[in-house]
Amino acid sequence: MYPSDLKYDKEHEWVRVNGDIATVGISHFAQDQLGEVVYVDLPAPGDSVTLGEPFGEVESVKSVSELYAPVNGEVVKVNESLTDSPEIINEDPYGEGWMIEIEMSEPSEVDVLLSAEEYEVFVTEEE
């Protein structure tokens, strides 16, 4: 449920690191808690995001939640297909359900993010 090649934060985002590019989405736990996602509001390429600050919103049949940036940087790519088919976030949170790609201004920041094992412990405590 929590792929080991990813990093996680306590707001339930995951990060896939490739050089100084971080791909960001929400975890299996987050999509399960939200329930069926009906709408996502994401930034545009070129926008900058700040670690720990909201970069977008995800709305489910239950509630609206903010998405928090796990790193600092600039948005370089946005998953446009989520606009029409937000359900992909529920179906494939770690694959097709990715949200944005960030060019990190400080790539070493990912070191403080949680590993899959650490995140799983955190989630179990949350439950």
Partner: protein
């Protein structure tokens, strides 16, 4: 279900949704036949001389007979669920029964037939009613300055925060931040943003109240106000109200009480006496106006003497000569609503207050609190009770155990309650409780009805272990089965279009 439906003859009218009014009737059907034209016919095009757009096609109006209209809307009403149909324990909404006497009063010709531009000497009764209602609300809240203009609770919040802003600006200081606990209604942070402030979220402590350490840390001279709901959305009385308000005042900030839950404290404690500077009151929740269909409501705001000069005007006043007039507060923020707000709601509220009297209002709150605690105790073993304290008029259960055991979500429990004949409680709110079920029985349900509700909730908890699949497929008995909320949100179909 299949056995039963096999016995319904084909062609019987559907219990559930039928055709739309636009699809009913026939082109020649009419309700009324206008009399034949007995004056010369005029050509609109010639008369208007191109000054207005003239439509060339007939509007697509329904063509139905009177009885078809009557049956169509009676059927729609029969599919609906309201307080007159069954109990409606929708937490935070106070869906109590509204006495019919309020409806009677609101329809008195002297009230219902008024025009807002009538000369003031011809509307003395209406002004007197507003004055007396404002006095009564001032007494109930312990806050003497009252505006009756706001049309709903959130509108009241906005009005109060606008007054706060004006108050701070008048003293020459611009403050930018407003503190809002994480259990608050979403309207609170929205109001903060609408007013141009920044909302700062305060965490709750393990007891369900405001975390005092976090409050201390957040307070500085840039804080304009705190917005506190008391009792809060967990149905708990904020035990540290006095300390919180003292701390807020010590940095020069103001304290706002969201009065959504006033039904729990009337005649027992007054927000003005516990240090709040302003309070809004949902007349449509607590004081006798049916609601839930989007209005009309009324959200009067009560404030301290210090804030009185900033209230919206005009305010109905009792003049020295015994008559009633209108006054403009000295530093008024201006009107927040046309004329005098939703006047019919004010009439119902006044009738409600006068009908019950001070002692009666206190009994309302006592009974509402007793009913909630009774249900809480009956249900505490079958469901998780995350904040185990004596509750006020409502309490919050969690369906986490049911989710873990049978994979049954709170949504499924809510849907199953419909089969037992109850409107479900509020679910998934407050956000700080996982799989939340927020139950507010109100004072108007009898012990027998409370027991029936408890029995249904306990039976459902049983069904979670015996037949979870049943719960996931519920409801079975409603005119519309489970609504596809995802499709409704993602692909809303909001408009009728005739095919072809």
């Amino acid at each position: 279900m299949t056995e039963r439906s096999a016995q319904i003859p084909s062609g019987a009218p559907a219990r559930g949704p039928r055709r739309l009014i636009f699809e009913t009737g026939a082109p020649e059907s009419r309700c009324v036949e206008p009399p034949p034209l007995d004056v010369p016919e005029l050509d609109l095009k010639v008369r208007l001389q191109g000054r207005a757009k003239i439509r060339h096609e007939m509007p697509m109006l329904p063509h139905v007979t009177e009885v078809e209209i009557a049956r169509h809307y009676s059927h729609l009403a029969s599919m609906n669920f309201g307080v007159d149909t069954g109990s409606y324990p929708l937490g935070s909404c106070t869906m109590k029964y509204n006495p019919r006497i309020g409806e009677d009063a609101a329809r008195y010709e002297g009230f219902a037939g008024l025009h807002p531009y009538q000369p003031i000497e011809t509307v003395q009764g209406a002004l007197e009613l507003m004055c007396r209602l404002a006095e009564a609300l001032g007494e109930i809240s312990g806050l003497p300055g009252v505006t009756l203009q706001p049309a709903a609770g959130a509108h009241g919040e906005l009005t109060a925060l606008m007054c706060f802003r004006a108050y701070h600006l008048a003293s020459g200081i611009e403050r930018r931040r407003v503190l809002v606990p994480d259990s608050a209604h979403g309207t609170n942070p929205a109001t903060v943003a609408m007013c141009g402030f920044e909302a700062i979220t305060l965490p709750s402590d393990a007891d369900g109240g405001v975390d005092l350490a976090a409050l201390d840390e957040a307070l500085d001279d840039d804080v304009a106000a705190i917005m506190l709901t008391n009792p809060n959305t967990l149905g708990l009385f904020e035990r540290n109200t006095l300390a919180i308000n003292e701390a807020v005042h010590s940095v020069g900030a103001l304290s706002y009480c969201d009065g959504a839950n006033l039904n729990a404290i009337m005649g027992i404690t007054r927000p003005g006496d516990t240090g709040f500077d302003a309070l809004h009151i949902n007349l449509h929740k607590t004081f006798g106006t049916p609601h839930g269909g989007g209005g009309p409501g009324a959200g009067p705001v009560c404030v301290t003497e210090a804030l009185k000069p900033f209230l919206p005007g005009p305010i109905p006043v009792h003049l020295d000569d015994g008559s009633f007039g209108l006054a403009e507060p000295a530093r008024s923020i201006g009107r927040v609503r046309s004329f005098f707000g939703n006047f019919g709601v004010l009439v119902r509220a006044y009738a409600y207050i006068r009908g019950l009297g001070g002692e009666g209002l206190r009994e309302v709150s006592e009974q509402a609190v007793l009913s909630a605690n009774y249900l809480k105790e009956r249900l505490r073993d079958a469901y998780e009770l995350p904040y185990d304290r004596t509750c006020m008029h409502e309490f919050v259960l969690s369906g986490v155990r049911q989710k873990r055991e049978g994979g049954v979500r709170t949504l499924d429990i809510a849907k199953r309650l419909l089969d037992y004949g109850f409107h479900p409680p509020t679910i998934y709110f407050p956000l700080i409780v996982e799989e939340a079920l927020m139950i507010e029985p109100t004072e108007t349900e009898s012990l027998e009805e409370l027991d029936r509700f408890a029995k249904a909730m306990l039976a459902i908890a049983e069904e979670v272990s015996t037949d979870p699949a049943l719960l996931k497929a519920a409801p079975f008995t409603t005119p519309v089965r489970r609504v596809d909320e995802v499709a409704a949100a993602r692909k809303p179909d909001l408009r009728f279009r005739r095919e072809g």
